[in-house]
């Protein structure tokens, strides 16, 4: 019903025509608006009027320009950072300790027997290729199959343009030549290089030679390739058994004033370092808090790395590998780990360096990695997302796609096997080309995102000799007794490591981000600008909108009346006379000369003079708005 009423009213208004002209509307607006400029345009004299008109325009354009800048600033989503430093009770970091050597040599010897004999013989050939030495071959026959899968070759570079490739085991002659050159004691440049020959298939011609400037590097790289191929076939249970056991490795543990032992550590199998042990990982139990700074309240460990049981060709550096990381995150020791040297006490003061960032749209980071298009293979460890995990998963996925098998150093998705020489003869070639491919790396970098909360542990590392010469004796005795129940010393300086990990006096530095521009900021600045230049507010905008609607109305009404006018003009064609104007109509109505027909019978003279009566009141209230009377004709003006 209301709607109908409304439409009727609208129709009436349309029929009646506009109440005002544009000019009136504008003048009314200027007079009554709350913005400061327009009023002046109306009120002042002509010169000032012009100045004020110009000023108002200028201010209005200034306002719009500045608004544009503000909105742009808001949409760029800037952040401000705040930094806080101090000491507070914090979760003690998870501490991962590993041995630099993955397996006990005594346990893996049966697997590596062939490989070691091979490398020894090869080194013998390279280093001492005297005919006498090579003839007295006391070794049992070598397993040449391993050799043929990935051979080491010597590259003779006497002729720079045409390097000669020599297989170490096939001919002695070139090697002898080598010896004579060096035997002369000449200082000329070394002419032989060791390289690893990698072929896409055994016996195929599609081969590359990985050159090494140093034989030591070549031997280690070659050994690692062969070693991973052998270990890839060993089931996980066996690999864990071959590694260092917690009770052998962790000799003593003290956290604050509380004693702890190897049972407080969580075992995890790490492909680089074998069995690693994580203290305070927070997987099953609550993470430990530390509320005091200083070495007295930190973690103290004594480790045994039993250096005599190292695999000789695999890892040349000896020590413990350790890393501090967040609870429930996977330790990437190759990236973030540090070494601890045998025979020393290493003290590590920790500062937790946190960076808390805002997510989308402020920065391109991920909260839990769910929006990253790479399948996280480390989720099988129940660990949280990290960029390292993403990059490694990405590489492993590429490896599986191109080579058909997974690399031993990274976790496997279901249904895929690790690469080994028997099943995947070309894997080393495939792996090495993939590894050096910059394009593949860039793909992984582009698809992985960093986490929004980045925690780093800044370490202040210091070292001292331990145990001291005076205390050496009793410490070794006690530790040997506790570990092996023997009264003899079974440990030595080369295997024993002491670690102190504690919070520094200032243990946290947090950089947290907050949005530099919020919607409140935007609004208050918009208001500030509008207010500053023109004293306006949102209501003024509404006023302005109202005026626009009004002028639209006027236009609509004008158009309609113009159309009506057209129609009438067409209708006029039938009547030659112009339509009576309002005044004519009114005159016609009030013409005193007009007499009714019947009155004409009365004689004019007899007509009575008009009786005196109350004159019509001269009140303004009777006044009729001329516009309303004139109606549609007003547009003729």
């Amino acid at each position: 019903m209301n709607l109908k009423k409304y439409f009727i009213r609208a129709l009436h208004r349309l029929q009646k025509g506009p109440g005002y002209t544009y000019k009136e509307l504008l003048v009314w607006y200027c007079d009554n608006t709350n913005t400061h400029g327009p009023k002046r345009i109306i009120k002042e004299g002509p010169k000032k009027k012009f100045i004020w008109f110009f000023l108002t325009l200028l201010f209005a354009s200034l306002v719009f320009w500045q608004w544009g800048i503000l909105i742009n600033t808001y949409l760029s989503y800037n952040v401000t950072s705040s930094l806080s430093i101090g000491f507070k009770t914090m979760k003690f970091p998870a501490v991962t300790v590993c041995n630099a050597n993955p397996f006990k040599y005594s346990e893996v010897k049966h697997l590596l027997k062939d490989l070691d004999r091979l490398i020894e013989a090869a080194l013998e050939r390279i280093l001492q290729p005297t005919p006498g030495n090579s003839s007295e071959n006391v070794y049992p026959p070598l397993n040449m199959e391993l050799w043929h899968q990935i051979p080491l070759v010597l590259i003779d570079e006497h002729d720079k343009d045409n390097p000669n490739i020599l297989d170490i085991f096939e001919s002695n002659q070139p090697a002898v030549g080598n010896q004579t050159v060096e035997g002369n004691g000449t200082t000329e440049e070394k002419k032989y290089k060791l390289a690893v020959k990698l072929c896409s298939h055994q016996g195929s011609d599609n081969c590359t030679y990985r050159n090494f400037s140093s034989a030591a590097q070549a031997v280690s790289e070659w050994y690692v390739l062969q070693f991973t191929s052998i270990l890839a076939k060993v089931p996980l249970q066996d690999r864990i058994r071959m590694g260092y056991q917690a009770e052998d490795m962790i000799l003593a543990c003290l956290y604050g004033a509380e004693p702890c032992n190897y049972k407080n550590f969580t075992q995890i199998y790490h492909p680089d370092h074998g069995n690693c042990y994580i203290f305070n990982w927070g997987m099953d139990e609550e993470a430990l808090n530390s509320s005091n700074p200083g070495a007295e309240f930190g973690l103290k460990l004594i480790l045994d790395i039993s250096q005599q049981d190292y695999i000789p060709y695999l890892s040349s550096a000896a020590g413990a590998r350790l890393m501090l990381h967040q609870q429930k995150s996977f330790p990437f020791l190759k990236d973030q780990g540090i070494y601890a040297m045998a025979g020393t006490e290493t003290s590590i003061g920790v500062l937790v360096d946190e960076l808390e960032r805002m997510g989308y749209p402020y920065s391109d980071c991920t909260v839990n990695g769910s929006d990253v298009p790479v399948k996280n293979l480390y989720s099988q460890y129940n660990t949280s997302y990290s960029i390292q995990a993403c990059l490694r998963s990405c590489f492993q996925n590429h490896m599986i796609e191109t080579c058909g098998c997974g690399h031993y150093m990274f976790p496997l998705p279901e249904g895929v096997n690790y690469c080994n020489n028997e099943d995947n003869p070309g894997w080393a070639y495939c792996y090495s080309s993939l590894r050096s491919s910059i394009r593949d790396r860039q793909i992984c970098i582009d698809s992985c995102k960093e986490t929004c909360n980045d925690t780093q542990y800044k370490m202040t590392i210091s070292m001292a000799d331990w145990p001291s010469e005076a205390s050496e004796d009793w410490i070794f005795h006690i530790l040997s007794y506790e570990r092996d129940m023997s009264t003899n010393v079974t440990l030595d300086r080369n295997g024993i490591i002491k670690l102190n990990i504690y919070f520094q006096e200032y243990n946290y530095r947090t950089i947290s981000e907050s949005a530099a521009t919020t919607i409140v900021w935007l609004l208050s600045n918009l208001g500030g600008q509008f207010g500053f230049w023109m004293g306006g507010s949102v209501l003024c905008l509404i006023e302005f909108g109202e005026i626009i609607i009004d002028s639209l109305w006027i236009t609509v009404i004008h158009v309609i009346s113009w159309c009506k006018g057209l129609k009438q003009k067409r209708a006029q064609v039938r009547y030659p006379d112009a339509p009576p104007t309002v005044s004519e109509l009114v005159e016609a109505h009030t013409n005193l000369g007009f007499q009714p027909e019947d009155a004409g019978t009365l004689p004019r003279d007899e007509a009575l003079p008009p009786e005196p009566g109350t004159p019509p009141p001269n009140y303004d209230s009777l006044r009729v708005q001329p516009l309303d009377v004139l109606g549609p004709d007003s547009d003729a003006e």
Partner: protein, 653 residues
């Protein structure tokens, strides 16, 4: 009326462009008008309010609002040049920094024998005579006469002295003679604490060569420091005379120093290193110096993908007096930066694998007016002697070197040469050591003004290093490792390398997160203006328009009113004088018009029905008609009660 054409024109201009002064006759009227019509709030209340107390409160409130606005806007202005810090972390391919590696020992001792044999002989003898031990059994202690007869220039130049106590007598280490000491005493070690044990104090005397009475005495608590310092002075003297090419030959070559090199999973060799001669460390080698035009970058973090080198440190060929520690020094720096290896180098141990994890941070500060830093160093009045980009360290060293050249006439050996200068040596500049020590003293005490001139750079790159050490080679791999490395070195197989001659170094990125700390202006002009607007609007609903109003009313209008008053007064006075003379009273009074007759009451009303229709009045209206109401309320109020004659002037014309 006949008017002059000029007058006509002015009249016309006046008519078409009427210039009106302020409409108020007096200042108080103007204020009243302003308060009623201004756009700011508060002012109106003062005028409109009734009652003195209320008015007073409103005046107080308005004034305090004005005060608050002024205060807050001043705060805003003061805080305009403040910066906010933002930290961004970006995960990306990172450029690998330049890594400069030096042997701690600058020159091969065996090669330096020709230059240093005299000095070493003297030093050994000094040790022998004073401390009573001899190095090696073959050396027979010579008689004092023979000892005196040898060319002991070194001791003549700078005598080593042993102090009995502070009684200013000292024993000459060479002759054993006692001598009186004059001059001021400088302690290189702050060893004043153990002055009770004064028999241990040893030092040397530096005298002004031109004026031997002016001497400075440098004392050390330990003979170790004294001998080293003394040796170093002579050593620099000798080295300053050797040309650069010879020195480069005397030092280690890339083949000598680098045994193996491995970067990003690929083999590298000496071609990837650039030689750089450091005056105190001999030949240093910079990996990835960017001189070939390309800078290597890392796209995978971790120790396997960084730089791995095995260094050959020939410990047997070390200079026994110059350096007392063994190993190498490395520094990680940007390609454009000069490696100040003696200042901020990291030492590398032998027989160990040193793993250095890096974390990259880039910082950028805002320069003037936010903070006092320099972008390029071009605005620092110190010439950059190093061929690298500006840093504070470079500026300080250059500044010192310049002061050295100015006051001592020669350049210090450890820093690059300015144009036209040469290094100090005792033959040409016998006075330089004394001069150098004096100047250095001044420099440390900030009397040279270098610390004031030099500013820090606005942007810098920093690699935070985490260093850890492992035993290398391990006990079981030692054998084959040394054998293979010996083969690599191309030496005779039977001469195996010793593991204490080797150092393994790994430099790698811990992660590829680049932290970028930058300062941004906390305020821009836009936000400053909006804050102004906010303040103005909050307290008084004011805007720039109001400010213009205030300027208009309080300055222009008020001034013109005052001026007009004065003008009128002067005119009146003039007229009075004229009238007094002529005795012609000119009294013109405006008749007060009231009510209906008020001329101001122009019927601007829209036509009434009757007037519009021009109805004829009823004929013959003998009856008295109601007169139109004589209401004063209908009178249109003029803006001001009193119209001034000159404001109405225009209308009269």
């Amino acid at each position: 009326a006949a008017m002059a054409p000029g007058k006509k024109i002015t009249a016309r201009i006046k008519r078409t462009l009427p210039v009106r002064g302020p409409q108020a006759p007096t200042l108080s009227e103007l204020m009243r008008w302003y308060c009623l019509n201004t756009n700011t709030h508060g002012c109106r209340r003062i005028v409109v309010s009734r009652g003195r107390l209320r008015r007073f409160i409103w005046i107080l409130l308005t004034l305090s609002a004005v005060g608050l606005i002024l205060w807050q806007c001043a705060e805003l202005l003061i805080n305009y040049y403040s910066a906010s810090v933002s930290v961004t972390v970006q995960f990306q391919k990172l450029p690998f920094p330049a890594v400069t590696i030096c042997n701690i020992n600058p020159y091969k001792y065996s090669a330096m024998k020709d230059y240093l044999s005299e000095l070493d002989k003297e030093t050994k003898k000094a040790l022998e005579t004073f401390y009573g031990f001899s190095e090696g059994k073959s050396k027979v202690r010579r008689s004092v006469d023979e000892w005196n007869s040898t060319a002991s220039d070194f001791f003549k130049q700078i005598p080593l002295l042993h102090f009995e106590d502070f009684s200013r007598t000292a024993t000459d280490l060479r002759s054993g003679r006692k001598r009186k000491i004059e001059g001021s005493v400088f302690h290189k070690d702050s060893s004043i604490v153990n002055s009770g044990d004064s028999s241990d104090i040893i030092g040397f005397q530096l005298c002004d060569a031109n004026n031997s009475s002016e001497c400075a005495l440098y004392t050390f608590s330990s003979g170790v420091n004294a001998i080293q310092e003394w040796y170093k002075l002579h050593y620099m003297n000798i080295m300053a005379q050797i040309p650069l090419e010879t020195k480069e030959k005397l030092s280690y070559s890339a083949d000598d120093l680098l045994l193996t090199c491995f970067f990003d999973g690929l083999s590298c060799d000496k071609r990837h290193f650039t030689r750089f001669h450091h005056p105190l460390h001999g030949n240093c080698y910079t990996f990835n110096s960017g001189e070939s035009g390309t800078v290597l970058s890392t796209s995978t973090a971790g120790s396997e993908y960084g730089l791995q080198v095995v260094l050959y440190i020939d410990e047997a060929d070390y200079n026994p007096f110059l350096v007392t520690s063994t190993g190498a020094k490395i520094i990680v720096h940007d390609q454009n930066e000069y490696p100040f290896i003696e200042d901020i180098g990291t030492e590398i141990e032998t027989a160990a694998a040193t793993s250095i994890g890096m974390h990259f941070t880039r910082s950028c500060k805002l320069s003037k007016p936010y903070s006092d830093c320099t972008e390029t160093g071009a605005d620092i009045p110190v010439e950059n002697l190093y061929n690298k980009s500006y840093s504070l360290q470079i500026c300080l060293h250059s500044c010192f070197q310049k002061a050295m050249v100015d006051s001592c006439g020669c350049a210090q050996y450890a820093q690059p040469l300015p144009a036209g200068a040469e290094y100090c040596n005792y033959k040409k500049n016998p006075n330089w050591m004394y001069c150098y020590y004096k100047l250095h003293e001044k420099f440390v005490k900030e009397q040279l003004g270098c610390q004031q001139i030099c500013k820090d750079a606005c942007s810098f790159k920093e690699w935070a290093l985490t260093t850890s050490i492992a035993q290398w080679p391990s006990a079981v791999s030692e054998d084959w490792m040394l054998r293979v490395l010996s083969w690599d070195k191309g030496q005779k197989i039977n001469k195996k390398l010793n593991k204490t001659d080797l150092a393994n170094l790994m430099v790698f990125y811990k992660d590829l997160n680049e932290r970028f700390i930058s300062e941004n202006p906390a305020n821009t002009l836009v936000t400053l203006l909006s804050n102004f607007g906010g303040q103005l609007g909050l307290w008084m609903s004011c805007s720039v328009v109001c400010v213009i109003e205030i300027v208009e009313v309080f300055f222009i209008d008020s001034l013109s009113i005052v001026m007009r008053r004065q003008w009128q007064k002067a005119k009146k006075w003039w007229n009075n004088r004229k009238r007094d003379r002529s005795g012609n009273p000119a009294q013109a009074s405006d008749p007060e018009s009231q009510g209906h007759d008020n001329p101001a009451c122009i019927d601007e009303d829209l036509p009434t029905f009757n007037t519009a229709l021009r109805l004829p009045l009823p004929q013959g209206s003998p009856l008295p008609r109601t007169p139109p109401p004589n209401y004063s309320t209908l009178r249109l109020e003029a803006a001001f009660t009193e119209q001034l004659p000159d404001t109405l002037e225009v209308g009269q014309h």
